[in-house]
């Protein structure tokens, strides 16, 4: 199925638009590559559909945006233009509907990219149609953030199954470059390898291969931490937990604010899926807190429901916007200013060290800080390291530590576990894991002192630590 890209597919205009120029291909030694020129996006009106469509168009593909109605498809186009900050990206995008255009577009496509709602039955019904009309060598991918790839491939033709895989982009795809490629058992291994290369070289992604397990790699590790903080918020308060596990611990955004941004419904779908279909050492960390379950039932989905809010809610008071914060115990919201948390001197010291770029010293302070709050913060951060590294292995979610590092660093904008281990040192990391009764990943025992785990070129660890 893999044939060399033909020179005829490369036009002069592509040269400056994309990574497609002949010189480029020579330069990068990637003349052998899956030829993707025509892409169809199913569900192009959704955020992930439009965003993924933008990524493919920006990479020089001709993209067909399909939706239920032409108006919906057009909404997707406008969203893609806004992401690309370009009117002219429309030159590469055409619009259509499932009823009128799916058959023909799918028949012509090199890649059929499914970005419908996270409803496995809906997806499967579309894949049945796609299977009927696609060319045998075309690739079919789903952007699903955690549903079973194998289940989606069930009942499909042999050529469909061989050419079917997950390509999980993170939201918004034009900004967040971390990407997971998820094969199922029947996926052509060569397609997987080449897809990773293609995503990296042509579409500017940081791509890893993840196993077809619930939530894959990034969301499995990320939502374990997010949900754990949501659980702890019931006892310690929302604002306090966001302060305690704030950007200084190696993340662009505080955990509970992140759940508000993602949406509580999406959060629930991910943790419920992991809780129902996995059984690992952190099983209980995936149990959605009862207060969240109840508030979701009342329509509190985070930022997407501004009238209800999530952990936070903004309200207008006169011409002023006031930020409210949820009290998980009562379900009531109070003024964030009144609920302001007591500043912890050790934490402020760490923030100040990050502020002036002394990241290593800052994290040494994190190790030596005293008090129950410091213990709680360390338990969460070392829990992240432990859980992430335990997902590495032949029968686990990823094969190498580097995969976890890349997806946490460039999918979540969190300090990759290896960055933290490099700063703390492997021995001290093990000591802290034992101290907080966290499982010590076997891999950690093989790291010698002074050996650097994080070896991503061109990446300065400072980018992961906001003050």
């Amino acid at each position: 199925m893999v044939v060399p890209v033909t020179f005829q597919t490369l036009s002069r205009n592509d040269k400056h638009a994309t990574n497609l120029g002949l010189f480029e291909l020579r330069l990068r030694g990637i003349l052998l590559m899956i030829p993707i020129q025509k892409v169809v996006v199913l569900g192009a009106n959704g955020t992930m559909g439009a965003g993924s469509g933008e990524v493919f168009a920006a990479g020089g593909c001709d993209v067909v945006f399909l939706a239920r109605t032409i108006e919906k498809a057009h909404e997707g186009l406008v969203a893609a233009q806004n992401m690309a900050k370009s009117v002219r990206i429309a030159d590469r995008i055409s619009l259509g509907t499932y009823d009128q255009d799916l058959e023909e577009a799918v028949a012509k496509a090199d890649l059929i990219f499914e970005a419908l709602a996270e409803d496995i039955e809906l997806k499967k019904s579309f894949f049945a149609k796609v299977d009927k009309h696609r060319r045998p060598e075309s690739i079919v991918a789903t952007v699903s953030s955690g549903l079973s790839i194998a289940e989606m491939a069930l009942g499909r033709s042999e050529s469909f199954r061989r050419n079917f895989l997950g390509i999980h982009l993170f939201n918004p795809p034009n900004v967040i470059v971390g990407t997971e490629v998820i094969p199922h058992e029947g996926t052509d291994p060569q397609l997987v390898r080449e897809m990773v290369q293609l995503l990296e070289r042509r579409f500017g992604r940081v791509a890893i291969v993840a196993a077809d397990k619930p939530a894959f790699a990034g969301n499995r590790v990320g939502f374990k931490v997010l949900n754990e903080v949501a659980i702890l918020a019931e006892e310690h308060g929302v604002a306090f937990m966001d302060y305690l596990i704030g950007p200084y611990t190696g993340r662009a955004m505080s955990p509970l604010a992140t759940i508000d941004l993602v949406g509580w419904d999406v959060h629930k779908a991910i943790v419920d899926n992991v809780y129902a279909h996995t059984k690992d050492e952190a099983h209980e960390a995936f149990r959605l807190p009862a207060y969240m379950e109840e508030l979701i039932g009342r329509g509190h989905l985070g930022n997407k429901t501004p009238q209800f809010g999530g952990f936070y809610r903004r309200v207008k008071e006169g011409n002023q916007t006031v930020q409210l914060v949820l009290d998980p115990k009562t379900g009531a919201y109070k003024d964030l200013r009144e609920a302001a948390v007591r500043k912890l001197p050790w934490l402020e010291k760490i923030r100040d060290l990050h502020h002036v770029g002394r990241y290593r010293e800052a994290l040494q302070q994190f190790l030596s800080a005293e008090g129950p709050e410091a213990d709680l913060a360390r338990k969460v951060v070392f829990g992240y390291i432990s859980y992430a590294l335990n997902r590495v292995g032949e029968k686990e979610v990823v094969r190498e530590v580097r995969d976890i590092d890349r997806i946490m660093g460039f999918g979540f904008n969190w300090a990759p576990p290896s960055v933290l281990i490099d700063i703390f040192g492997p021995e001290e990391t093990i000591r802290q894991l034992e101290r907080y009764k966290l499982p010590v990943p076997a891999i950690l025992r093989t790291v010698s002192p002074g050996q650097k785990l994080f070896r991503e070129p061109h990446v300065n660890i400072g980018r992961f630590f906001a003050a």
Partner: protein
């Protein structure tokens, strides 16, 4: 013949980062550039004898002056290190390099650290535009004018148009090349942005006109960035080479430099050059001075150029001022592919100020670091094959302070 000045390497921060969003002080940028440079070169901080910082306007953007002193904060070994900050608008970084290299030539010091730094994303674009206006004669050319610099460089294009004719499609092509090159540079600000030649030609709600013939796609970026560079005397370079078991001859040099300052007001400059085939003759002279000092006959003795494309019109100007074409014929080198990657003489393989980004005071240092990386084969996907010598051009103001270097091997 002046004593040789060797380049031992350096470090560039990721120009896509927003340091205000990370809640970082400007010293954090300086620290990353210096620590990164020490790690990249393996230089012991105790070996450094002097420090020079290039910066345009930290007083405005970050409410912080006296940046030379912040070098001392980076490492305990720097306590007592003689340092200074240098300012010449967008040429500040090159001036810092000139100061450091002059001291090495004079025999005062053997190993100098140069840092270029600018934090610009602290203010909104209009405020930033006003700050940049102080690189012109503020009272006469910038006060009360929204985005004065795009307008000044739009007028540079107008002057070309008047003297020789200028098609905007050639400017659009310059923009597209720089964005395209930036896609190969892992530290470029726009590496994941969308830009095509069609878009650069288009005027629409995203690609708006912001001054005369200058559209968004013709502009360099508002960038946070810091870059370090280590310059050494022959003695220090020989010791460095010996320690690493490499030949002194494998370490590139600052082969030549040129530095000229034209009248600050744009109208005065243009009036002065009325009967000159070159629109900015002092910039032309800075380039010729650099060639002469490097002992090279002309631009064809270099294999790549890192030039100051603060706007597409300034790169258009650079093409004929470097002598790639006759005066007024820059468009020929654009049309025939000379300046593209894989062309006869690629300009801005890094993506330049448009693609890689333009942290004002850091730009001159970034150009020389990129030149160093090119001639030592360290540019990865944006490497120009067989680059032995690379020329730079760094410009402050509206073509006011011009500094050119030739970097590489004699």
């Amino acid at each position: 013949m002046a004593a040789p000045v060797y380049i031992l390497g350096g470090y560039q921060t990721d120009f896509a980062r927003n340091w205000k969003k990370e809640n970082k002080h400007i010293v954090a940028m300086i620290r990353e550039a210096v620590e990164g440079g020490l790690e990249a070169t393996g230089i012991d901080p105790r070996e450094i004898q002097v420090g020079h910082v290039g910066n345009f306007a930290a007083e405005l953007y970050a409410m912080q002056g006296h940046l030379g002193a912040f070098l001392v904060d980076v490492d305990p070994a720097f306590s007592g290190l003689p340092t200074a900050r240098h300012e010449a608008a967008c040429a500040s970084g090159s001036i810092a390099i000139l100061a450091a290299s002059a001291e090495i030539e004079a025999g005062r010091y053997d190993l100098a650290l140069v840092v270029g730094v600018e934090q610009m994303k602290t203010v909104d674009p209009a405020k930033g535009g006003e700050f940049l206006g102080t690189a012109a004669w503020y009272e006469r050319e910038a006060k009360g004018i929204e985005f004065p610099f795009p307008k000044l460089f739009g007028r540079l294009g107008d002057e070309y148009d008047r003297r020789y004719g200028l098609k905007d499609e050639h400017l659009a092509h310059i923009s597209a090349i720089n964005y395209s090159n930036a896609k190969r540079n892992p530290l470029a600000q726009t590496r994941n942005w969308y830009m095509t030649e069609d878009q650069a030609r288009s005027v629409d709600k995203f690609n708006t006109v912001i001054g005369g013939r200058i559209k968004i796609s013709d502009c360099s970026q508002v960038t946070d960035g810091a870059v370090s560079l280590f310059l050494a005397s022959e003695k220090a370079a020989a010791a460095y080479a010996k320690k690493r078991g490499i030949a002194l001859e494998s370490i590139p040099r600052l082969l030549g430099w040129g530095h000229r300052t034209a009248p600050i007001e744009f109208d005065t400059k243009i009036a002065e050059s009325r009967n000159n085939p070159y629109v900015l003759p002092h910039t032309r002279q800075a380039i010729l001075d650099a060639f002469r000092r490097a002992g090279i006959p002309d631009v064809w003795a270099v294999q790549a150029i890192e030039t100051h494309d603060c706007f597409t019109t300034s790169e258009y100007m650079a093409i004929d001022h470097f002598g790639i074409t006759k005066p007024g014929e820059s468009w020929k080198a654009i049309e025939d592919g000379t300046i593209e990657m894989g062309g006869k003489l690629p300009i801005n393989p890094s993506g330049g100020l448009i693609g890689c980004g333009h942290p004002v005071g850091a730009t001159g240092v970034r150009q020389v670091l990129d030149a160093y990386k090119q001639v030592t084969g360290q540019c990865g996907d944006y490497q120009v094959e067989n680059a032995k010598r690379v020329a730079t051009l760094n410009i402050g103001g509206s073509g006011t302070t011009s500094v050119s270097f030739v970097v590489g091997f004699a």
